[in-house]
């Protein structure tokens, strides 16, 4: 019987979770406070996954970069492949939160989506300011 001690990353509480293993088989999960911890632990010992966040360059906007994330968690060993797939990528404004920036990142079947808005840049700073000033 093997034992894996983990810290759950499901939420900021960081519960210490113990997984009892019999070979590849999970015998029990303990120490978690909520079902998320159980799910995390089972995945972490079999197929660990992570959400990956990064940025890509945006053209024609007031901002330089658009932040992005994998829409779902991807296998841990695909993290760098995913980031490399974003290398050199440039998108054009406008970009809205949720827009797909890169489909099926590094063959994971998971899309990379924008996590911020990037509006087109304005011709005049003053107008830009008025446009964004509330009311």
């Amino acid at each position: 019987m093997g034992k894996r001690e983990l810290i759950c990353i499901g939420c900021p509480m960081g519960c210490p979770v113990t997984v009892e293993m019999n070979g590849d088989e999970i015998v029990s999960v303990s120490g978690n406070t909520c079902p998320r911890g159980d799910a995390y632990a089972r995945k972490e010992v079999t197929n660990p996954t992570r959400i990956v966040t990064s940025t890509v360059k945006v053209e024609g906007s007031c901002v330089e970069m658009v932040s992005v994330k994998t829409k779902e968690d991807i296998p841990k060993d695909k993290i760098f492949d995913c980031v490399r797939a974003l290398k050199g990528l440039t998108v054009k404004a406008p970009v809205r939160i949720g827009d797909v920036i890169l489909a099926d990142a590094a063959g994971t079947g998971v899309d990379v989506v924008a996590t911020r808005n990037a509006w087109p840049s304005c011709h005049k700073e003053a107008e830009c300011q008025q446009a964004v000033d509330g009311s």
Binding site: I9, C11, G14, I51, M65, T115, Q129, V132, G134
Partner: protein, 423 residues
């Protein structure tokens, strides 16, 4: 001079949540003053995920979390001014601010909500000896360069301080192609969240050296290397434990300081422990009608709690400007909340029982790492709460809740004590 019922200083997470809550509590005349080019504050550069589980029941990135609140501010048609720096606030709540289009202008506020956030401690505050080359950045400055400008501040990195921003930046720099060699922490425990050690350091095999500090910085033009040494219980480097690292960058994540220059300028009393304003149950400072929330009040780990706290400040400010009788406006007798035996401080530090909401959250931090301790609450001599916590650490904010109906049972209540007790 323009007049607003509520002027909110800062359009970050605290300012946004306070504005939304004040508007929903029935106050229409609200103005947010923000110095950056967009609302959202520091969240815009916190592109990692992990925000919003409490508030939205889902895991969001910083910009997405900010986006949710910005949408509400737009929908509720709350006024805001960007690119606007508040220069001064007088004790009678006249706000002097400046931007390129309006110039230097004054606004009369019925109530003020302080939501300016915090700043990072700099190298200077640590007195690390050595040269002063390029390549020494606070973690937040590096975060801005990488996440907002797309610039890489260095390729071989050492990080001093294991606060959350330092941990997050260890992963960010790694994923952008830099080599993060080590994270050193002066204290015998990390100042960051446990999960960030797992997913930012362990995932990338970045070592965390506890009880270590930087004792020398080499390089005259650009950082060329640093020396780490182990420290004793008092934080002094132990001779003979020095280890040299070659690197071109030193990132510092050595603490955050509430940004209260405006507050102290207007006469707001500050706590020596938190460096934030001393507040009552309404999150109101010693100046009537001036409220504080978020990192300007005390440094938080989680934005969700900032939003919660700021929403309370917004509600209370709205009640303050709407109320006609003096008793519910402000002032009045306060029951002191005393933080002792391992509890460093509480926010709030005093409660007016008549005025408090049905349930009052009291947030606090502990002074060290405590295992299997109890958090106890005493009303004068009587213990009313005694809750076991497996682990508590200075890096993680704790809270207790007080019920109004329970406190009302003690009409002569003088002191509420929050302390840690052994099993």
């Amino acid at each position: 001079m323009k007049t607003y019922d509520i002027v909110i200083i800062g359009g970050g997470p605290a300012g946004l949540a306070a504005a939304v809550s004040a508007k929903r509590s029935g106050t229409d005349s609200i103005l947010i003053l923000e110095r950056d080019k967009e609302l959202g504050g520091i969240l815009n550069q916190c592109i990692h995920n992990g925000f919003g589980l409490h508030t939205f029941r889902e895991e969001l990135t910083g910009p997405e979390y900010a986006g949710r609140f910005i949408e509400q501010v737009e929908e509720l048609q709350i006024e805001y001014k960007l690119h606007t720096m508040v220069m001064d606030i007088s004790s009678d709540k006249i706000v002097t601010a400046m931007n390129s289009t309006d110039g230097l202008f004054e606004i009369k506020a019925g109530a003020v909500i302080l939501a300016m956030g915090c700043r990072e401690r700099s190298r200077g505050a640590l007195n690390i000896p050595g040269y002063r080359p390029a390549g020494i950045f606070s973690a937040g400055t590096a975060q801005r360069l990488v996440n907002m400008e797309g610039c890489l501040p260095g390729r071989k990195v050492v990080i001093l301080g294991s606060g959350d921003i330092g941990l997050i930046m260890a992963r960010r720099m790694t994923l952008e192609g830099a080599q993060v060699q080590v994270v050193a922490e002066l204290m015998p425990y990390s100042g960051g969240l446990k999960r960030n050690i797992v997913q930012c350091l362990d995932d990338y095999a970045i070592p965390l050296k506890l009880s270590h500090t930087v004792v020398e910085i080499r390089g005259k033009e650009r950082v060329e290397g640093i020396t780490l040494a182990q420290v004793d219980e008092t934080g002094r480097p132990i001779p003979g434990t020095e280890e040299e690292y070659e690197c071109d960058t030193l990132l510092l994540s050595v603490g955050l300081i509430p940004e209260n220059e405006l507050s102290s300028g207007m006469g707001v009393a500050l706590s020596r422990v938190t460096s934030g304003p001393v507040v009552n149950e309404s999150l109101e400072t010693n100046i009537e009608g001036v409220f504080a929330c978020g990192n300007v009040l005390h440094v938080h780990d989680l934005v969700d709690f900032v939003s919660e706290e700021a929403a309370a400040a917004g509600r209370n400010a709205a009640r303050y400007v709407q109320s006609t009788d003096d008793a519910s406006r402000g002032g009045g007798p306060l029951v002191e909340i005393r933080a002792v035996d391992g509890v460093r401080y509480t926010v709030p530090s005093g409660i007016n029982v008549e005025r408090m909401e049905d349930m009052q959250t009291v947030r606090f931090r502990v002074g060290g790492v405590y295992k299997n301790c109890f958090v106890s609450v005493y009303l004068d001599e009587e213990r009313i709460q005694h809750r076991k916590r497996p682990v508590m650490a200075p890096g993680e904010m704790e809270s207790i809740k007080l019920k109004k109906e329970e406190l009302l049972k003690y009409p002569d209540l003088k002191v509420i004590t929050v302390k840690l007790e052994e099993g």
